[in-house]
Symmetry: C2
Subunit: 664 residues, 2 copies
Amino acid sequence: MKHIVIIFLFISSVLNAQHLLPQPKELNLHEGKFKIANNIKVRVTRPSLKLNKYTERFIQRLEYSSGVYFQHHKIQDTISSYEIVINTNSTTENIHIETNESYAISVTSNKVIITAENNIGAYRALETLLQLITTSKNGPFFNNCSIVDEPRFKWRGLLIDVCRHWIPPHIIKRNIDAMAAVKMNVLHLHLTEDQGFRIESKKFPKLHELGNNGNYFTQEDIKGIIQYANDRGIRVVPEFDIPGHITSWLVGYPKLASANRNYEIATKYGVFKASLNPTEEYSYQFLDTLLTEMCQLFPDAYFHIGGDENNGSDWNQNKKIQKFMTKMELKNNHELQAYFNKRILPILIRNKKIMIGWDEIYDSNMPNSIAIQSWRGKESMIHAAKNGFPSLLSNGYYLDKVYKIEDYYENDPLPQGIDLTESQQKMILGGEATMWSEIVDQTTIESRIWPSALAIAERLWSSSENCDTKNFYVKVPFISNKLQEFGLTHINYQEALLGLISNNSSVQTWKPFIKALEPIRGYKRHDFLKKTLKYSTITPLNRIADACYVESFTARKFNTLIHKNCKKAGFCQYRNDIKYWLAKWAKSAENFQRISYKSTALSEAHELALKVQEICELAWRKVNSPSELTDRENQRAKKLISEIDTYQLDIRFAPIDGIKILFN
Amino acid sequence: MKHIVIIFLFISSVLNAQHLLPQPKELNLHEGKFKIANNIKVRVTRPSLKLNKYTERFIQRLEYSSGVYFQHHKIQDTISSYEIVINTNSTTENIHIETNESYAISVTSNKVIITAENNIGAYRALETLLQLITTSKNGPFFNNCSIVDEPRFKWRGLLIDVCRHWIPPHIIKRNIDAMAAVKMNVLHLHLTEDQGFRIESKKFPKLHELGNNGNYFTQEDIKGIIQYANDRGIRVVPEFDIPGHITSWLVGYPKLASANRNYEIATKYGVFKASLNPTEEYSYQFLDTLLTEMCQLFPDAYFHIGGDENNGSDWNQNKKIQKFMTKMELKNNHELQAYFNKRILPILIRNKKIMIGWDEIYDSNMPNSIAIQSWRGKESMIHAAKNGFPSLLSNGYYLDKVYKIEDYYENDPLPQGIDLTESQQKMILGGEATMWSEIVDQTTIESRIWPSALAIAERLWSSSENCDTKNFYVKVPFISNKLQEFGLTHINYQEALLGLISNNSSVQTWKPFIKALEPIRGYKRHDFLKKTLKYSTITPLNRIADACYVESFTARKFNTLIHKNCKKAGFCQYRNDIKYWLAKWAKSAENFQRISYKSTALSEAHELALKVQEICELAWRKVNSPSELTDRENQRAKKLISEIDTYQLDIRFAPIDGIKILFN
């Protein structure tokens, strides 16, 4: 029990620090505090429907988070001696890319003053204030301070792919809440894919009637989502991915295709042959009508046309297309796609939209009014910027790759020494976290978005000198926990999923073992699933890898502890702490073995659990008394480490990195 | 660690039993098993859109629950040597109160045969089959068996009040899934209240535009819910509560009122004065139009008009109403309400609806075609039945009263010895669990519905001789866990809520203390909140009482253990098990004290935690060595027990009932 207390004190000691995420530009703490008492009042100096709505929600959230029952829930219009005041100059009905999001906060003992150019800046300030709530034995308070803040990049996005797996409006909305809480400002909805056309078209109803498994956004749903986002200062950018990734369109409208084939909604994943026919006027008439309909539905200035991974093989096979290319002197498929994009551009311009697309739409013959979203590498972003194209970074921000969170965090769109002039750097609008949904469903998607996207939120808002990986990791558990306020399930889905796959088998006794596991990173898990031939839209996503968090914070702490405190061959300081975790994992891996037959998913990890138990027991003895282990035992340990390290499964026992050091 | 193993083995040993809930009428287990292998096929002998849809979902759920990746996801039409077959005679598009829900299942080593009169019976059978999944080291299987099953009552309902707190469609839908899983067949939507009019009216739009805080079901939402329920063999009965409970209606349509007053949506709770004016023709014209609109929206034959708690004081104060009563020879408000109901009845009859309402609509002058839902006591149900009125039991099924689950379970609508003839007994249609939402919100409501409603589900389906409280409690954790399949949060909301109110403070170290707490029962918590003057629609529901499960199963086990194994004054068998829990609670109550300042909600329980720690430590010593305690210590223990037992808070430390025995 001693160790629990130690850990507990460690956590407590950091609790009273300010956990602001993203880190503000300037933060100065002062003596004294503003008490969050029940007679608190909130005043808005320039009321507007939008600001009042946000402020009213703020009052409720402050009450909920502080645990104090307030006397006043309404916004005041007269000055009070003890109040939170929100000063703005103007109201912005619709946030756009140039909207000023800056704000300042001054907390003194009887007044909190928020100053912002407009309501959007005020929203950002109110979120900061909610993160400032601190608790003490004398009740909750804000520490006196002054904050001046503004974003580094103006485009801080999250892409959600609602096509490979359907993600319904209520889940989109609570993620919008979470985005607002950490000052992200663009929701990019990936609406069409080979696996599903997920939005109602009144012009071409067979798109949504035949192009999905019954799940799609109605136009009312979309209006609701846009309103919800707008109320929180978040833009919604729709993506209609053309000319590739369009199998689902062709089920209802095969005439659009470049090849005569029997089209069915794709259930497998990958890059498909299906492509729009860029040589038929029908295609452009169709797209003109459809995109005009959609441009009217989505008020944002940007309209995403995808453009990625157009396989080209159907173009190669189509003689008419080949003839057309010869006639038009188009040398290759890239040029044909550029031709296609140039035909699409006037449609968007007529609808007052700015075209944006993936790397592949970049073409030196396109006007540099279009924007490029870089997914294949930072080079394409740099190349675009050098040629005067605005661009966004998504490469390195792929949430479906389940990278270590620090890898997202340390991916700066404009790192020191980047080969771009100052004016070229201004072409970099920001970036977007991308949540592709091949191997996430409604149950698991939030655990892949959060807390990983916190890294990208801070990176894109805070100046690079304010980004510190170590400090970031201290803040993450607290901010991630707070996001549960919106009903996000990124933390507690684990318990439910483990309960389900184990038939309620005493999860607590083996959960520490699971909590030390991580899914394998990059697209290795995709490869793993492909090998099992189970890599489709109907594959149940209820394996241990699905139940694992993206990063094991206990393993991270353990590995750091060892790294810092252990000399070679197991001579360590803080031995009790290290032994505590080793004993815990050994025991829980043992417990796991007893219930591993409860489902296929669990039984696959049976052998891993055996090895983990053995290596943890050996490591425990090594730390306890380094010279006690026989040569044979040391050899055995090394063999186990190597086996665990290369274990052929889609999960990895993360503390093995620390344990390895003990036997070096 | 020894104790964990003991508990673990205990759980394992019951895992392989059949946990069927509700208990089928006849269940005979045979030798052998039907293996759930990856080449399993499912065949429907009489395909229909509805049955196929349910069956396809069944295949997905069987795959998800068994953890086996299937080769065949489609319904087969040819006989196979290894298959699940679904035989039905007919398809029922819309379940109605007389729909035959019976079914039979025969499981042999290579065939599962389901036989049912219609698709609804087949749905019930498929849910039973999913509960039959058993796991072993050789993979999942169904035990060979034969089951014959049918419901005891034809109306097995759940009422959800979406007015006091708004409950959105996606939460309603996942609760419909859970209802179907345990064979409940009526969703009663309480749609209008003083605190909110929660459904769109195209005829009188000010009802939904002005009558709520912005949250209501559109008619599209309602159609979606009805379709969803219908696809699962569940009827949807709407309630429009008149003539009382109508404050929210009057905001937009004050002309309906019996008193001239400035009407605002109620935010406090209780019985209000507001009442429709039953003497004005305007009221009937309005209701004719509105109810006709709603009768067309809801296809079910029953239409609920509420009728409860009509305060009457506005009628008493209105001279015109008083004159009307004299003229019509109506002796009291009950007779006036009966007059009102008689004017409403033809509207419903014209719309081919059967009127149903609460106790208060019973009147010997009403035709006994109307149905009575009994909430005030079983007597009104008996009285109605004796007079030939069909009736439903809800008294004793109030989920918001957070009774012990056994209290719901043991509330039989027709207990042995009830004073009703056989034909009178047939007038009892069944019952309904009622989830009133004064002190539950979206976050907590499911924890009040489940697992409590499981008790009512089994009671209303299974014959009384098949209902056994002890056996029921064995099944509950497994079935409750399984319901998480639908995304229900009734279990894992606790972790999220505790994380939020403690600012992520090492919840695991003090959770055992919370898990031993229960909310105070009946309406005591309402009284408690009234006393604090915080009893309204905007009161944050994030206290410890909200985070507690309705019943602490650990406390129940502990109390039973002591009851069975302890003689007076602490002389016990199974001493280690008892001491294990006492030590756990003492330690976690101590840990709790350290973080209790994190929020008001937690700090209120600080003193309780102190007392719990002390009594658990004393009890541990008492069990360890009964004669060791001094007289003074024994006296101190008794004092603590009495203080904890009568602690002035909205939570209760449930193991105190067992601890009490140790010091007797």
